[in-house]
């Protein structure tokens, strides 16, 4: 059952592509694979921490004060993620710090807290967080790789900021020419829109499923 929850969050109910949640950081940070992975890791830490904590405290949190409590817990984990990033991957921190900070107000995370973690046992909530985090990471990396490839003609630049000096060798240069637009903010909208259209055309988004619709309504 738990594997089903994971799959649901990562693929069928992918926060970015199916629910279109968390788009602000998704569009802003996805200009390279290394930035995308940094934000994906920070979001995963916050999702797991917040979902787990909220599920564990679900019997104690007074219903009328649940939103302040959720935001307090999410803000705590966001700050923890930010400090950890600053300590472990300083170069990546310099580039994406702003977007890690606004994870606090990411509706994807608050949505999972409200719709799932506050009503489910800790194990299921952690599975849901892992699935959602994997789905968000997938969306970030796909968009980041597409944009980096279009903009610079290469992939995996500056990975040493995340994985140490050895990762500098991972950089791939396929062509010298790049389409600068893809790295700029308008490129984020255009590339994300085209990817979404391609996924729709390929039948990625499952329609006509009332259970998912109901869950989406709750989350947004």
């Amino acid at each position: 059952m738990n594997a089903g929850i994971f799959r649901e969050g990562a693929l069928a109910n992918n926060p970015a592509w199916t629910q279109l949640l968390g788009l602000c950081p998704l569009l802003a940070v996805s200009n390279s694979v290394s930035n995308a992975l940094g934000l994906a890791a920070a979001s995963a830490l916050v999702l797991l921490g917040a979902n787990g904590t909220i599920a564990a405290l679900r019997g104690y949190i007074p219903p009328f004060a649940r939103l302040p409590c959720f935001v307090l817990i999410i803000a705590t984990f966001t700050t923890v993620a930010l400090l950890t990033l600053q300590a472990l991957a300083y170069d990546v921190y310099l580039k994406i710090a702003l977007f890690v900070q606004i994870i606090v107000t990411n509706c994807m995370i608050l949505g999972r807290a409200e719709a799932f973690a506050s009503r489910q046992p800790v194990g299921a909530a952690l599975m849901d967080a892992a699935g959602t985090a994997a789905g968000f990471a997938l969306a970030l990396v796909v968009l980041g790789a597409t944009r980096e490839l279009l903009a610079t003609g290469g992939l995996f630049a500056q990975m040493e900021g995340l994985f140490g000096p050895a990762a500098a060798a991972w950089q791939l240069n396929l062509t010298d020419s790049g389409l600068l637009l893809a790295a700029l903010p308008p490129g984020a909208f255009i590339v994300a829109g085209l990817l979404l259209a391609a996924m729709n055309a390929a039948g990625w988004r499952r329609r006509d499923e009332s259970t998912h619709e109901a869950q989406n309504d709750e989350a947004t």
Binding site: I61, P68, L72, I73, V80, Y90
Partner: protein, 172 residues
């Protein structure tokens, strides 16, 4: 008493969060400050061509500021106002009123138009005087950014004393 319980619950959660943050801060504090100084030290060593004694590395966030590198050259920090926000310049001055090197510590200019900064334009400023800087052509498409940098550097060359008292970067 019944209405007090939810208040206490929220307070307890807040306390737990505060403790978690304090613990994380404790754990990461020293590593973060090490990362910050290492980043500044690397830039400074690059500009000076030598490593500065750890105890003497200045705080590059503070500007305007000017330092004397053992009488070899002057090193200065100054922000100029670009198109998207401050452009944080670190540069060295030769004794004859000319620039030696210019490094950009950070900026918020539009990514697409700042390519000229990576393409050797900063290198072309080497050995320029204030007059030559003012006479330089602005970069097409990045007029405000390039003008802000050349004007800011020219002003610093004209009146280095405006950058504050010269402080030493050497122990002797």
């Amino acid at each position: 008493m019944a209405e007090l319980k939810p208040v206490l619950t929220v307070a307890a959660i807040a306390l737990g969060c505060a403790l978690a943050l304090a613990a994380t801060h404790r754990l990461t504090e020293s590593r973060i400050s090490r990362n910050e100084t290492a980043a500044e030290r690397a830039v400074l060593a690059d500009v000076l061509g030598r490593r500065v004694d750890d105890a003497l590395v200045p705080d590059l966030a503070v500007q305007p500021a000017i330092w004397d590198d053992c009488g070899r050259m002057l090193v200065a920090r100054r922000d100029v106002r670009g198109y998207g926000g401050p452009i944080r310049l670190l540069f060295t001055l030769k004794g004859n009123g000319r620039l030696a090197r210019v490094v950009i510590l950070g900026h918020q200019e539009t990514p697409g138009i700042t390519g000229f900064l990576q393409e050797g334009w900063l290198g072309s400023l080497t050995s320029t005087s204030a007059g030559e800087l003012r006479a330089m052509d602005a970069i097409t498409g990045a007029t405000i950014t390039s003008r802000a940098i050349t004007d800011g550097l020219a002003a610093a060359l004209d009146a280095p004393e405006q950058l504050g008292p010269v402080r030493p970067l050497c122990s002797s």
